[in-house]
């Protein structure tokens, strides 16, 4: 079942790639092959592979652990980049680490302490020592 779904998704991605490739236009042919051919071939391979997988799926055993925990980490990781600019690196990173620590069975207080420490340490390391400017957020720190 999983294989059939993966096959379908791959075939759709392949079709999308071919469709997108056909919209590429070069005003003059600087390259005898052009930008269209390679994505079209690769899209074709994906469609073919996807169909083979759909028609002859292998046995896939799925094991779920405590998936809500993984989901919490995943959601926090997805929200993180969106929060970086509005609230700054330190606050956003502390929040991400806090959620992650809770997901890893930490108690709230130690989780909060280690989250803030991690955020500050990484800020100092990256922004101050490695000169990679990080978003400061409203507090300007």
């Amino acid at each position: 079942m999983i294989d059939r779904l993966v096959g379908l998704i791959c075939a759709l991605i392949g079709a999308g790639a071919i469709w997108h490739a056909q919209t590429l236009h070069v005003p003059f042919a600087a390259d005898p092959v052009g930008p269209r051919v390679f994505p079209t071939i690769i899209g074709g391979v994906l469609i073919l592979g996807g169909f083979i997988l759909m028609l002859r799926p292998g046995p896939v055993t799925m094991e779920f652990g405590t998936w809500p925990r993984a989901l919490a980490v995943l959601v926090a990781s997805l929200i993180y980049p969106l929060l970086l600019l509005p609230i700054g690196f330190i606050a956003a990173t502390a929040l991400l680490c806090f959620v992650a620590a809770l997901a890893f069975h930490a108690r709230p207080l130690p989780a909060a302490v280690s989250a803030v420490t991690t955020a500050v340490v990484f800020f100092v390391l990256l922004d101050k020592m490695l000169d990679l400017p990080l978003p400061r957020g409203p507090l300007g720190i």
Binding site: V33, P35, G43, G49, L53, A70, A100
Partner: protein, 397 residues
């Protein structure tokens, strides 16, 4: 023989106090990183890259550090695989098959010893092969045109497909998806934007380092959060120590695994994970009498040797052709770019001190590793058997 002379100049570079220290730091850090599940060499190299630049390390020193980290991780990984049944990265799955049963039967110390010897044999023989093959390979590379590079990549992909037994279709799908991701950005030939969907950030393409961290590190974190990785801790055990006869018994397996591992490492696209899997299956076909998977020494020595031989082997095409032989060497290519060094055929003529210094440092590093691992093996084993939360938090950072 000019390889010897060149190697001697390389040793002059590698034996300076700074480079010796850095090589030691690299292999020590690599062992630690290999021993802790969840970090893996690819993430570690990516993390250390900006640090090398910020510390203003000279290019050859930075490369010695990153390479030390890479092949050092091959030594460390076996500890958690054998004692905890937790493979730290995909290349170590095969090590658990016979390593963990050995540890469970009380022969953990012997298993650590034979896998350490295997790592040493694989790593050192691969460096020797590299010394003599790198320059002839660059001569060959000079006559390589675009068509030849394409043919080489197609050969690697095809071999990858045949090696993943019964899963050739999935391998081809993965290859196609990877190529599709690599196409994002401005087409080099015509300057047309492909798959950017109007996004400015995607114009330059998807950065390989970011992609691998997302793929490997995030997946590992989610896996850990789900609690899917759990090992029953086994002690190093007080069973019989490794005997000389057992070492001799494993030598043919190690030699076969070295050749196979090095060859697969040199091929672009096939790294340590394919090599160790191939070495295990090959060894099983040759010498299994029903003992493989239940704690056969050869079943442990073969994948562990191939793993280390492949790691070193994958550096050959990176240095000689500018094509990374594995994921980690692809990240290391980024280090070359940062120092505006172009790896490839001209590297050995334009920057011989860098290229040969790196190779010479790998001889030294491979000697340091067993010395470092014998006393520290117990320490890492104790660190690993500590509580799970501390370990996972460490991996998360």
């Amino acid at each position: 023989m000019d390889a010897f002379a060149a190697l001697l100049t390389g040793f002059q570079v590698a034996l300076t106090p700074l480079n010796l220290t850095v090589a030691f730091a690299g292999v020590a850090l690599g062992t630690a990183i290999g021993a802790l599940p969840g970090i893996g060499p690819i993430n570690a190299v990516a993390l250390l890259l900006p640090l090398c630049f910020a510390l203003k390390l000279p290019p050859e020193t930075a490369l010695i550090l990153l390479a030390g980290l890479y092949y050092g991780s091959g030594y460390g990984g076996r500890i958690s695989s054998i004692l905890l049944n937790i493979p730290g990265d995909p290349g170590l799955v095969m090590t658990t098959l016979d390593g963990y049963p050995l540890a469970k039967s009380g022969r953990g110390a012997a298993a650590l010893a034979i896998s350490g010897i295997g790592s040493f044999v694989g790593g050192t023989s691969a460096v020797i092969l590299m010394t003599f093959l790198a320059v002839p390979l660059t001569r060959l590379a000079l006559s390589f045109g675009p068509a030849d590079y394409v043919a080489l990549m197609v050969l690697s992909f095809a071999l990858l497909g045949t090696m993943s037994e019964g899963k050739a279709v999935k391998t081809w799908i993965a290859v196609a998806l990877g190529l599709l991701l690599a196409m994002v950005g401005i087409d080099g030939g015509t300057g047309v934007e492909r798959f950017t969907f109007g996004s400015l950030e995607l114009l330059g393409g998807i950065d390989f380092t970011s992609l691998t961290i997302g793929l490997f590190a995030v997946a590992e974190i989610l896996f850990l959060a789900e609690g899917m990785i759990s090992g029953v801790v086994s002690r190093t055990g007080n069973g019989a120590r490794l005997t000389f006869r057992e070492i001799v018994y494993c030598i043919p397996a190690m030699l076969r695994a070295t050749g196979l591992g090095f060859f697969l490492g040199v091929l672009p696209g096939t790294g340590a994970s394919v090599a160790s899997a191939m070495a295990y299956t090959a060894e099983k076909r040759i010498s299994d009498k029903g003992t493989f998977g239940k704690g056969d020494m050869r079943g442990l020595a073969a994948p562990e040797t191939a793993d280390n031989a492949a790691q070193t082997g994958s550096m050959v095409p990176m240095l000689a052709l500018g094509i990374p032989g594995s994921g980690t060497t692809a990240v290391m290519l980024g280090a070359f770019m940062m120092y505006s060094i172009t790896p490839g055929p001209l590297l050995f003529t334009q920057r011989p001190e860098g290229a040969w210094g790196l190779i010479a440092s790998m001889y030294i590093g491979n000697l340091m590793l067993p010395v470092l691992n014998l006393p520290l093996g117990g320490l890492f084993a104790r660190l690993l058997t500590g509580s799970t939360p501390s370990r996972t938090r460490l991996s998360y950072c």
